[in-house]
């Protein structure tokens, strides 16, 4: 019972600020503080939401975006994981690849858009765009995770005459996995942010970003706000799920932190 109460207060606390903003927004529109022709009122947004819900375009586009993000995220994070492990395991490759990786990392993603369009005019370019952004945090976190495996644990492996493969699967991988998961969480939330950019830079594949961009052209600001809220909501849900996963798989590390 107590636990339930605590959870309820948590939810209430978390909802306090959004509710306040909503009320302020409502009042500002109601008493014409906001320029009504430019900034939609809550009722405009609700009506707009109802409209796109009814003609099916909302879920059609949201679905496209979510699938696109998952594709980009899977491609980027898998690649990132492999690169991170490789850089962490081989000092030679670390020296060889890290400088160029750090240089590439500094290039803002939209700058790649023209090149990506050369690769493919279709879905592939958008997925690659997301994958590139999704890759970086997984590389960095996995690399750090591998590098910070305790030397002490490796000595235990040496005592038991572990092979290199066994050392990797029994010590390095489990020990660095919590860091990788942190990378994956960051990666997923970056992917979700990038999908809108991908859909704006490389259009005509549908998606929530493209829908918003089109609505802007038609001055349908109410639908732009619908898009913003939907993006925030899905992003929140993704982050929440990843946090749960992170806790689940790195229980031993989180507990260590708490006990300190």
């Amino acid at each position: 019972m107590k636990i339930k109460n605590i959870k309820l207060t948590h939810v209430l606390e978390a909802a306090l600020l959004p509710a306040t903003i909503f009320v302020a927004w409502f009042l500002a529109s109601r008493y014409n503080v906001l320029p009504g022709n430019l900034f939609p009122s809550p009722s405009d947004v609700l009506a707009g939401f109802y409209e796109v819900l009814n003609d099916g375009s909302f879920f059609y586009n949201l679905n496209i975006s979510v699938i696109r993000v998952l594709k980009g995220f899977l491609l980027g994070s898998t690649t990132g994981f492999l690169i991170g492990i490789t850089l962490g395991m081989s000092r030679f490759l670390e020296k060889l690849i890290t400088p160029i990786f750090n240089a590439i990392r500094q290039v803002p993603l939209p700058a790649w858009a023209p090149l990506l369009v050369l690769v493919s005019l279709g879905e592939m370019s958008r997925v690659l765009f997301i994958a590139m952004g999704a890759c970086y945090p997984v590389v960095l976190n996995t690399f750090e995770g591998v590098k910070s495996v305790r030397h002490d644990y490796m000595e235990v492996g040496r005592m038991f005459k572990f092979s290199k493969v066994k050392c990797f699967f029994k010590i390095i991988l489990p020990s660095s996995f919590p860091a990788t998961l942190t990378g994956l969480r960051l990666s997923l939330s970056i992917s979700w942010m990038l999908v809108v950019a991908a859909e704006i830079f490389m259009t005509s594949g549908g998606g929530i970003g493209e829908m918003m961009w089109a609505c802007r052209e038609f001055s349908r600001m109410d639908l732009v706000v619908v898009g913003i809220i939907a993006i925030a909501f899905v992003g929140f849900a993704m982050n929440f799920t990843m946090r749960k996963l992170e806790r689940l798989f790195s229980f031993w590390r989180i507990t260590l932190k708490q006990s300190r």
Binding site: D152, E155, R158, F160, K161, S175, R253, S259
Partner: protein, 258 residues
């Protein structure tokens, strides 16, 4: 002849290279350990006792002299030597059971399960098989670490201040347990410590080391019968004898007046 865990350390010296030049850690160490003996190496911090242990176990190489196990020269770590580290070094992502079974090689799953269970029972951790290291106390963690180090039936078990971080009462309890395990497994044990009481309670021989460079100062046999009585006069005198080596003894002991 069956190999049984006799150890010979002959003229062993070890230097570490640092930026300021060479540091002489061990200087001409000679030591022989009989099969089934319990040896403790006592010395101040920095006297090289842990280094000596790491040489014997094979984690450090590049030394002068010879270390022979059952007459054969050592070559890196091997399963016939186990070690219990000062910090238990259990893998925090594995249960006690999985940690203990970590080093078992060349056994079927059923055999493995049995070995793990036997060793968990040997160290008195029955019922904690599924616990994670963070759920264990310091003493329990070291028990698990001892179990883990014994699964391959090593001939020699090396212990690097395994009880150093425990509270005094738990430590005394662990002394009894360690003695029991040592007897049951009839294994050679070499333990590094700076606790003289611990050394006298457990050892057949106490090796006193002096520092910078680490030298063997004296080997003191402990001829007391087991189990040893901490309250006995013999025990106290033995302790004084060891403390004398560190200039820490009381000048007039056992002045009885009626």
């Amino acid at each position: 002849m069956k190999s049984t865990g006799t150890l010979a350390v002959k003229n062993v010296s070890k230097k570490f290279k640092s930026q300021e030049g060479e540091i002489h850690v061990l200087d001409d160490i000679n030591l022989s350990v009989k099969s089934g003996e319990f040896i403790t190496i006592v010395g101040l911090s920095g006297c090289g006792k842990t280094t000596l242990l790491r040489l014997i176990v094979g984690l450090e190489s590049d030394y002068a002299g010879d270390i022979l196990l059952d007459g054969r020269k050592l070559n890196g770590p091997s399963l016939d030597r186990g070690i219990v580290f000062q910090d238990h070094r259990l893998f925090p992502w594995l249960t006690v059971e999985k940690n203990v079974g970590l080093g078992i090689v060349g056994k079927t799953d059923a055999e493995k399960k049995e070995i793990v269970q036997n060793h968990i029972e040997l160290v008195g951790l029955k019922g904690f098989e599924k616990s994670y290291p963070y759920q264990l106390s310091g003493g329990m963690s070291q028990r698990a670490a001892i179990a883990r180090s014994l699964v391959n039936n090593p001939k020699i078990l090396l212990l690097d201040e395994p009880l150093g971080a425990l509270d005094a009462l738990t430590r005394m309890y662990m002394h009894k347990e360690l003695e029991r395990i040592w007897k049951k497994e009839s294994i050679t044990m070499i333990m590094v410590t700076h606790d003289v009481d611990e050394a006298v309670y457990l050892s057949d021989k106490i090796v006193v080391m002096s520092a910078r460079p680490g030298k063997l100062q004296k080997i003191i046999p402990v001829p007391l019968s087991r189990p040893r009585d901490r309250a006995s006069i013999d025990f106290a005198q033995m302790k004084e004898k060891v403390l004398e080596e560190f200039m820490l003894h009381t000048e007039q002991n056992f002045n009885y007046s009626i």
